[in-house]
Symmetry: C2
Subunit: 356 residues, 2 copies
């Protein structure tokens, strides 16, 4: 190589180098612009989880009530058999679900619908797949009495169990001061609901919504873009990425189910096959999916939603990206909530477990 050739070579290298630097710089700039735009859009559609879930005026959250509620949540004596607690089906070791198609209840009866996660549930418009309970307090009362779940014969049976345990009586007096008869079914439900209001699970998506554009990977951001542009967000939005409205399952294509959902409560024809839109927080961990728990794979669930709810066939590549985004919704379950209480012992007065 002579000197001229060398100079030309160096010049070319320098030009290419400069050009590619400019290209990288400008593409980075435009990527940042795109991230900014995505963040702004997302901030309009979603909300980061607050540190504390708001409580209704008639059931303010106090540390003592939360602790009492935690004890009740984990206490199998709220079931007839003494074997099933709230945590049996809403297991906080497995993101507030049992990962069963439908739950196993008293005498191994199988429930009619998939158990939804208790995590962030207080952010929902109402409770249960069909929204038949208006809040966590009302929800907590139902499975205890449901003959295929915890199966106590009536609310007084549950109250009698708790009342027979002096440590519980003391705690109810402290948590509900000034009440003449604080151990009652309403207060049991209130305490459990107060505990459940601590089940807030912030994830990387919340960091993103709070302005940290690097909290999500490039693939997750692609997924979020698709989640928005394809229309998933029209139902799954807000602080819980769902849980805020009702929708028919099978708008564009029927979903194979006999379950008429909200219609069974309201008897309104327009409520046939209508269910509460589930929250997608922690969705990667709360398989199997839908009210019937028939779909185990999240990719498959996203594909079905595209077809039944949006009338579109999502491509595999799109599904993968959306699933990547959904995984960023897996949050942290507070350690306090996961720490089993030391339950006080029964007494000779405590109604015995009935298992047969």
């Amino acid at each position: 190589m002579n000197m001229d050739a060398l100079r030309r070579f160096v010049a070319v290298v320098m030009f290419v180098g400069t050009a590619s630097t400019i290209a990288v710089f400008s593409s980075r700039l435009s990527a940042e612009d795109a991230d900014d735009a995505l963040l702004k859009k997302a901030q309009k559609l979603f909300k980061p989880l607050p540190e504390q879930m708001p409580a209704p005026p008639n059931n303010p959250t106090t540390p003592e009530k939360v602790e009492l509620g935690k004890m009740l949540y984990y206490d199998p004596r709220l079931s007839l058999s003494g074997f099933i607690s709230c945590n049996s089906c809403h297991n906080l070791a497995t993101f507030g679900v049992d990962n069963e198609e439908t739950s196993i209840g008293h005498k191994w009866q199988l429930g009619p619908r998939n158990a939804p996660t208790v995590l962030n549930a207080g952010f929902h418009i109402a409770q249960f797949w069909d929204g038949r309970a208006k809040d966590l307090e009302e929800q907590a009362k139902a499975p205890i009495l449901n003959p295929v779940e915890m199966a106590v014969p009536d609310s007084m049976f549950a109250v009698d169990r708790i009342k027979s345990i002096p440590q519980y009586v003391e705690l109810f007096k402290k948590v509900f001061p000034g009440q003449e008869d604080p151990v009652n079914y309403d207060n049991i439900a209130k305490a459990i609901a107060a505990f459940e209001r601590t089940l807030v699970t912030p994830s990387r998506f919340d960091k993103f919504l709070q302005g940290d554009k690097n909290a999500l990977t490039a693939e997750e951001k692609e997924g979020l873009k698709l989640f928005i542009s394809k229309g998933c967000v029209s139902c799954h939005n807000g602080v819980a990425v769902g849980g805020g409205m009702y929708s028919k399952i099978g708008i564009f294509k029927p979903y194979p189910t006999e379950d008429q959902g909200r219609f069974e409560i309201t008897k309104k024809k327009s409520d046939k096959f209508v269910f509460k839109v589930p929250s997608l927080r922690n969705v990667a961990m709360t398989y199997p999916y839908f009210h019937d728990g028939k779909v185990w794979d999240l990719h498959e669930a996203v594909r079905i939603m595209g077809q039944t709810q949006l009338g579109i066939n999502l491509k595999d590549d799109e599904i993968n990206k959306i699933v990547a985004f959904l995984k960023s919704l897996t949050g942290e379950i507070p350690e306090y909530a996961r720490t089993l209480p030391v339950l006080p012992p029964s007494t000779p007065e405590t109604p015995k477990p009935v298992v047969k």
Copy 2:
């Protein structure tokens, strides 16, 4: 009152004061002597719990193994149904038992014997009521395969479930380094056993044995004296206050049971109705009592033991004192062990729960 009368009055007051001081002092001295004697006697018969339970040479306890074992202990996927974990029947919210006569297993089948507590179990001479497993490792393997308990069809089913979960595979590699195929049934049992070796529950009785004579109340010390003098201690001794030997139930008076205990394992005539002597640590919390779980009240259990094992009718007052002592054996369950792990999710390869 004249001066003489006043002097006499003062003298009398001083005499009475001095005398009663001497009386109190000497009775305190003799009470202290008695406490010393009781402590020395107790120190020969019992041992305080060590901070760490010793581990066998082929399964040393490591923090990573304990954490893996805790995950497996709480993981319901080790049961066919995906609903029952070790903790279902050995619930660490209720002192390592289920407080059931006998346990509820797969498809609501009822087991043949009462579930013993997992707390301090590694101090026992052997595992199960009939001692058929030599250690915690061997014990851990049995309920998973027992068709009336967790009911997996064979050990490979359990291994396949765990192997299908990448986070578990990574942990097994770290916990059992250098092994070609570390996810195997032996290692599952080893990890669970390592976790169970952390379930040591020191109580006020240990403080007493360590020399703090005020760690027990006067009534509890009376109970301890009776526990020793009446002969309870002849079987219930050592570090676990029991668990160290076998004995026939019904030596002086038959105990009503069809269960032939250890005879069913050894087929030796001398083993008819022979069971492992249970540990009395946490006994106030681990009702109902005996291998059949037929007795719910601790007073009644003590009365029966007097009759069947010692041939004596304990008086109500003696029973009350012995029960007071037994309550001092209720210990602290380590918070770490009570904190539910966050279990890794299943994958499409994970064998699904079988509930029907």
